[in-house]
């Protein structure tokens, strides 16, 4: 499927997509992106896959810290020469 509107508009908005996802674009840009998305399925895919990338990054679980390292860390800090 292709669209018949100006591809240059996609390129211009492309570099603003992260700011748009983060709610950091100005009102004019935000409105321009919203209007463009209504007419451009390609840019919707682009936006949604980028949003999902951010969602995955935010959702990666933390790993437990090795207990042995935690013990060694405390031991090292206890023996530092000057106390805070």
């Amino acid at each position: 499927m292709t669209t018949d509107h100006d591809h240059e508009a996609c390129r211009a908005l492309f570099e603003k997509l992260s700011e748009y996802i983060d709610g950091e674009t100005d009102e004019v840009t935000c409105a321009a992106i919203k209007a463009h998305m209504k007419a451009c399925p390609c840019c919707i895919t682009c936006l949604e896959t980028l949003k999902r990338t951010v969602g995955f990054c935010e959702g990666v679980p933390e790993e437990p810290m090795p207990k042995e390292f935690s013990r060694k860390l405390r031991e090292t800090l206890r023996h530092l020469p000057v106390s805070p």
């Binding site: 992260s18 990054c57 935010e58």
Partner: protein, 200 residues
Amino acid sequence: MATKPRNKVIDNDTPLIIAIQGGQGARFEELVTRYEGKLYNFGLRICKDPSDAEDLVQETFIGIFRYIQDFRQETKFKNWMYRIATSVCHRMRRRSKYAPERELSLDEFLPGDHAEIDTELPDWAAMPIHQVLNHELGEHLKASVKELPPQYRLVLVLRDMEGFSTEETANILGITATNVKVRLHRARLFVREELKGYFS
């Protein structure tokens, strides 16, 4: 002309920091308990291997221990701690044999024309996150982040994994907010390309 004193930032860490600065050095271990896990995971996301992550945690706490008397609460303690951690990263990088810094160009990620873009939303972007983000994908994602050039990796990890705002990330890294936004966008596009490869 005298400079105007900055407002102090008060948060949950403030009472503990004031106590330590006031002579209760034994309570430093409470700071370690509070943040060792966060810093360790930050290290895992930034460094090449777990032993480097452990070095980062240890060096960061040593830095905090040394300089905590200089902390003036002009920012959150956590942000100050990450500033120390990122400077440890830079120091470790200079000591190591990492590849030289590489710039990511926006052009690398621009689709050539519409014919190259699938207008159907792929399943991995359409399904609920919890149904897609399993252990294997998480590991692949972390590996992808490590492929980013360091200046982009730090921004992406601080913004999208550690949860700092654009302004906070700029302050931690000592760069402008505009620079954070530019690096973050390119880093996200890079990781998205890796994800596309994983799912294809």
